[in-house]
């Protein structure tokens, strides 16, 4: 039985539809991340699961029970908000007590749960403080503690790291991962940050314009994107996209002439227009005499430490290559590059869908 099930779920505001009939299954204990650019409907979807937005159409179930008409308080969920939503007039302890109050537990149990959460999250020293006296990272932990003490069936996270600075974000991200491993509770997590999604998720749901574009493990969405949107949204820097044409077993574009990778052989009709997708790491310096080497002019180099990014021009296409920093070329140099055929993606330029399967 799935922990959360969405069947053709639609959200409309007046006549404007913002979520267009999505289907999704979140399994018991799974960490599922809704990923997409702002305005893609991911937060709206999360808020429908929480019960903060009505479901306009379709069916939403939690633990096998239809909850479309169930009030948030009766759904057995707990939520961590983007701005943490800590009650500023209550201490850390009171914040957690307030979340427990509707459960009607006895005082000893309330105290036990608060102590347990405080122990796990390292909040012991902070219980008497007000939110205003806490740092951003501490507030974040209190928000998680407040969700934890309720021992919900499902944790909902709404961009919980977006208000933290970069260093803290990495640290709290790790803590969230550890917490999930420890508690094993189902998590539905919204973010626009693909690094968070890749590192935390068992399953990533990539959304755009109120549609689900792809559901899969981080490896699947990275290595086998369903379409050009997923391919370019996941991974940084973005995948290079080059319009090309299939002519006699070759992929041809301005300044480019590659053999069709073996897995596509026989799948491409002659004269088919395609878009070649290749990640910057798929472009490497060519060994002398390598087949299908492409000559490119380096416009900018960006030194990252171990690697360097090259902004290069091939014909009239601007591409990015990520190569070892040692011995990198200088701007203005001409370099010879090869496309790793095992990581070449081909897409249909009309539909954007992958041609890989």
């Amino acid at each position: 039985m799935s922990a959360i099930t969405l069947r053709s779920v639609v959200k409309r505001y007046g006549s404007v539809e913002v979520v267009h009939g999505i289907d999704l299954d979140v399994e018991e204990g799974e960490f599922v991340v809704l990923l997409g650019p702002s305005g893609c409907g991911k937060t709206t979807t999360l808020r429908m699961v929480a019960g903060l937005e009505d479901v306009s159409d379709g069916e939403l179930s939690i633990a096998g029970r239809r909850v479309n008409e169930v009030a948030p308080k009766d759904r057995g969920v707990a939520m961590v908000f983007q701005n943490y939503a800590l009650y500023p007039h209550m201490s850390v302890r009171q914040n957690m007590e307030f979340a427990l109050r509707p459960l009607g537990l006895d005082a000893a149990e309330v105290d036990r749960r608060i102590q347990e959460a405080a122990g796990i999250l390292g909040l012991g020293e902070l219980l008497a403080r007000k939110p205003a006296q806490l740092s951003g990272g501490q507030r974040q932990r209190v928000a998680m503690g407040r969700a934890m003490v309720r021992t919900p069936d499902v944790f909902l996270f709404d961009e919980p790291l977006s208000n933290l600075d970069a260093k803290l974000r990495t640290q709290v991200r790790l803590e969230i991962g550890k917490l999930h491993n420890r508690l094993g509770t189902t998590v539905l997590y919204v973010t626009h940050d693909q690094v968070e999604a890749m590192t935390l998720a068992d399953k990533i749901v990539v959304m755009q314009n109120g549609h689900i574009e792809q559901v899969g493990t981080p490896e699947q969405v990275y290595a086998h994107p369903n379409n050009m949107f997923v391919a370019s949204f996941i991974g940084s820097p973005s995948m290079n996209m080059i319009p090309a044409r299939h002519e006699g077993g070759r992929l041809r574009a301005e300044g480019l002439d590659l053999a069709v990778p073996s897995r596509f052989e026989g799948k491409l009709p002659e004269g088919q227009d395609v878009v070649i997708g290749i990640r910057p790491t798929g472009l490497q310096r060519a060994e002398p005499g390598a087949a299908d080497a492409v000559v490119a002019r380096v416009e900018v180099t960006e030194f990252l430490g171990n690697e360097a990014l090259l902004d290069i021009r091939v014909g009239d296409h601007e591409l990015i290559a990520e190569i070892p920093a040692a011995g990198r070329p200088a701007p203005g140099d001409e370099v010879s590059l090869t496309f790793d055929p095992s990581v070449i993606h081909l897409f249909d330029p009309q539909t954007g869908a992958t041609l890989s399967r």
Binding site: A71, P72, F81, Y87, H89, R150
Partner: protein, 274 residues
């Protein structure tokens, strides 16, 4: 804005000094005349140093039941404040939270209720209360003052409720709290300064009011403002007593200004300037 130069600073202080003299002299006059013995009240040049006397205050409370009028004022002001803050704040919560295009119209309608000139409704009130047998009772004034105080509270509290983040209420809703519990334990405590400001404004408006009190009360429910005016109509003007009564009446307002002037702007402009 840059820091003013020496000459500019002197000019600023000089002009402000004049302004302070102009704006504070009448208040000083009330205070000093209330303790000035009658024979030297109008002495020229004005007596600056004199033995203060409390005879006017003594007369105020012994020759007239001024204590009773003060109690009437207090009762009316507190009654109207409690009534207005209760109904006004729950209405403000609804207006702040319900997103509907008609809400603005309702809010403006409520606000406009405060702006109508009281004289326009004093006649109907007089007749209605006369018919209902409520003339010369504190209840009549509590009702009338609330018509001005509820709109004020609605507008002030709407501003304060708007500033309470929706996410806090949503968090409480997900945590299993119902509407009443959320309002009572999350929203209202966070809007508490608004409650205090609204209450103080309602109190001072009611305390200071004169026109309705004059029209709708007689000897029983008379308030302090009407009573102090009545010292005027007797044969000889009792300036000492008038000033003593005036001083008592202006205390709440002055205390309010001195303690919480930062809320004044919001209250007096109905939230249109923050």
């Amino acid at each position: 804005m840059n820091k003013p130069s020496m000459q500019q600073a002197i000019l600023v202080y000089a002009l402000l000094g004049i302004a302070l003299i102009v704006f504070l002299t009448p208040i000083y006059l009330i205070a000093s005349s209330s303790v000035k013995p009658s024979p030297i009240m109008f002495q020229r040049p004005p007596a600056m140093l004199f033995e203060p006397t409390f005879e006017h205050y003594r007369d105020l409370f012994t020759m007239r039941p001024f204590g009773k009028f003060i109690m009437n004022s207090l009762m009316v002001a507190l009654g109207s404040t409690a009534f207005s803050v209760f109904f006004g704040s729950i209405a403000a919560y609804a207006i702040s939270r319900i997103k509907h295009k008609r809400m603005n119209d309702i809010a403006f309608w409520i606000l406009s209720m405060r702006m109508f000139p009281p004289i326009a409704v004093v006649v109907p009130y007089y007749i209605i209360f006369k018919t209902a047998g409520l003339l010369d009772t504190p209840l009549a004034l509590i009702i009338v003052y609330s018509t001005a105080n509820i709109p004020l509270t609605v507008w002030l509290m709407k501003g304060f409720f708007d500033e309470v983040p929706r996410a806090l209420e949503e968090a409480a809703a997900v945590d299993g709290h119902g509407l009443i519990s959320i309002f009572w334990r999350v929203t209202l405590p966070l809007a508490a300064p608004g409650l205090a400001v609204s209450a103080v404004f309602c109190f001072i408006f009611s305390w200071n009011e004169f026109l309705f009190a004059l029209m709708l009360t007689g000897s029983e429910a008379q308030t302090a403002t009407v009573a102090v005016m009545s010292f005027w109509s007797s044969d000889a003007v009792q300036w000492g007593r008038i000033m003593a009564g005036s001083f008592v009446i202006l205390i709440p307002g002055v205390v309010f200004v001195l303690t919480c002037q930062r809320w004044l702007v919001r209250g007096l402009t109905m939230g249109s300037v923050k």
